[in-house]
């Protein structure tokens, strides 16, 4: 669905290449400043590149008109704010033309009780859930057809544990139905639980692509994150990670 070749942006991306297939749920991990947000932004077509090429469904991203692109690709940026006191229902309506959330979204994001509140009165996590809903609603018809490309920059920021799991369960279901989902965050355990592909980023490059964190050594992880990382094995044989300062 997505192929990108030698994307370079001075100081942010360093000739990074890769691809996202139909049904992928990719988790992007890396330290602050490794280029995670820039990579998502470049794939979304928002970042001006020094060089490189992004292909969506075999066609260069610059060959799509913006409305065409908006119909199947969505991207939620890390920071979202408005100078105006819009209510939640207004935010959702302006970007999707619908007042009612589809059941799948409501089950995961639980927004019904917030609909008439102004966005700037909500907690950080609640506001994040609204922006995720707005982002997904924009490409909901493509999601239903299993043809959406969903890019979310730190979607778990501010979310409580329950909503982190509800969100990632939803995203996993969307990728199972054919859409491609790429998220970046900093939680190794969520990554271990939900990802079907992982990109480790360092200095603007993907230094390792893998199916799960089972296949990487602790030393390699510690080296990439410049932080101590140890794990235990649960009953199902999955790693449970713990981080510490060395």
């Amino acid at each position: 669905m997505v192929k990108f070749e030698k994307l370079s942006v001075t100081g942010r991306l360093n000739a990074v290449s890769g691809h996202v297939d139909k049904g992928d749920f990719i988790h992007v991990l890396g330290t602050n400043g490794a280029g995670k947000s820039s990579l998502l932004s470049a794939i979304a077509g928002l970042l001006e590149l020094d060089s490189g090429l992004v292909l969506l469904n075999g066609l260069s991203i610059v060959d799509y008109s913006l409305p065409q692109l908006a119909s199947f690709r969505c991207f939620q940026e890390q920071q979202q704010s408005s100078a105006f006191a819009l209510t939640v229902s207004e935010v959702l309506y302006f970007f999707s033309e619908c007042y009612d959330l589809p059941d799948d979204l409501e089950d995961a994001l639980e927004l019904t009780n917030l609909m008439h509140k102004p966005l700037n009165q909500l907690s950080g996590g609640e506001a994040r859930r609204v922006h995720i809903a707005r982002t997904l609603l924009q490409v909901w018809p493509a999601i239903k057809l299993g043809q959406a490309i969903i890019l979310l920059d730190e979607p778990t920021q501010g979310l409580d544990f329950k909503h982190q799991h509800l969100l990632f369960s939803l995203l996993a279901r969307l990728s199972d139905s054919g859409s491609a989902v790429v998220v970046n965050h900093h939680d190794l355990n969520l990554c271990q639980q939900y990802a079907n592909k992982i990109w480790l980023l360092q200095q603007g490059q993907i230094v390792k692509t893998m199916g799960s964190l089972q296949s990487i050594s602790n030393d390699d992880l510690s080296h990439i994150f410049s932080c101590g990382i140890r794990f235990a094995i649960d009953e199902a044989g999955n790693k449970i990670f713990q981080t510490y300062l060395e």
């Binding site: 928002l46 913006l66 704010s81 100078a83 105006f84 309506y93 302006f94 970007f95 102004p118 924009q138």
Partner: protein, 308 residues
């Protein structure tokens, strides 16, 4: 509401306008141009401000904040002081033209300064404040060096009046302003995407650079034409969209046309109020600022109460 206000301003105080020829002359030569001027100027100032506030991410934005009004005022001041020797009938037609040219020049200046700073909405506001301050300073110097009559003309013009325009001026200005207002009315959906900034609008499918340039140009032309017709009118642009958003929410597909209609009504009501309560024609800005200030305060207080 708009129709009632128009009819009131047109026929107020006239006993039998369909029979009396003098009344008909008053309506055609004096009141109809006044009504058209009030509607176009009120609508243009309000809808431009409503658009600029969303576009520049600043609820306090109005044509004054990006320097268009002061650029137009500077050119008008220069013309009033330097062209004082011209015949009044020539002065009457050249003054709006000089004003419009001033608005265009200040818009070009704001664009070029903003482009040198950075291509975002904050740089447009910064450039506007700079141009506005410089224009204000030059107008103050002109005041200082002008003779008493020129100073009086300039002061009166700077406070705004709906009685300046007549048919020949409206013949050019009305289609231009009407077209610009109609264009702005249709931009509600795209402006709704702007509430979370340029990136979110682009991700929703809007070519933001083209849209922003076009919108700033249309707003500048509307304000320039409005100031040319009626001078500098304070507060309408700030008050009307705030009041509407306070009661009806933030959907620009409603707010933009409603701002145009309420802006037009507001200036008609100002005309009626001065006629009924004062019996004379006062500078519009005096009334809009006197009434607008307290109403704006109420609107802000109501919004604060709603939030808590």
């Amino acid at each position: 509401m708009l129709m009632c206000s128009v009819l009131l301003v047109l026929f107020d105080g006239l006993s039998a306008p369909w029979q009396n020829e003098l009344d008909q002359q008053i309506i055609i030569k004096l009141r109809l141009p006044l009504v058209i001027t009030a509607c176009l100027v009120g609508a243009a100032l309000s809808i431009s401000s409503a658009s600029l506030q969303v576009l520049l991410h600043n609820p306090l934005a109005d044509p004054g904040i990006i320097g268009i009004t002061s650029g137009a005022s500077l050119c008008a001041a220069l013309f009033l002081l330097l062209g004082g020797g011209l015949a009044p009938n020539i002065l009457q037609y050249l003054l709006p033209l000089s004003c419009f040219i001033g608005a265009i020049i200040s818009t070009i200046l704001i664009f070029s300064v903003a482009r040198r700073l950075a291509a975002n909405h904050a740089s447009v506001i910064l450039a506007g404040i700079a141009i506005s301050t410089i224009s204000g300073a030059v107008v103050a110097w002109l005041h200082f060096f002008s003779d008493a009559q020129s100073m009086r003309n300039l002061t009166f013009w700077l406070m705004g009046s709906l009685h300046q325009a007549d048919w020949p001026i409206l013949f050019f200005a009305a289609p231009l302003l009407g077209g610009l207002i109609a264009y702005l009315m249709k931009q509600g959906r795209a402006l709704n995407w702007y509430y979370f900034g340029q990136n979110s609008a682009q991700l929703a499918g809007l070519d933001v650079h083209k849209f922003q340039n076009k919108m700033l140009l249309v707003c500048a032309l509307s304000v320039g034409a409005a100031v040319s017709l009626a001078g500098s009118i304070a507060f309408v642009g700030l008050l009307v969209p705030h009041l509407l958003r306070n009661f009806f929410g933030y959907d620009n597909r409603f707010i933009l046309p409603a701002s145009a209609i309420l802006g037009a009504c507001l200036l008609l009501w100002v005309e009626l109020a001065t006629r009924w309560f004062m019996g004379i024609s006062l500078p519009v800005s005096m009334i809009t600022a006197s009434l607008g200030g307290p109403i704006f305060l109420y609107s802000v207080a109501r919004l604060g109460k709603k939030r808590h």
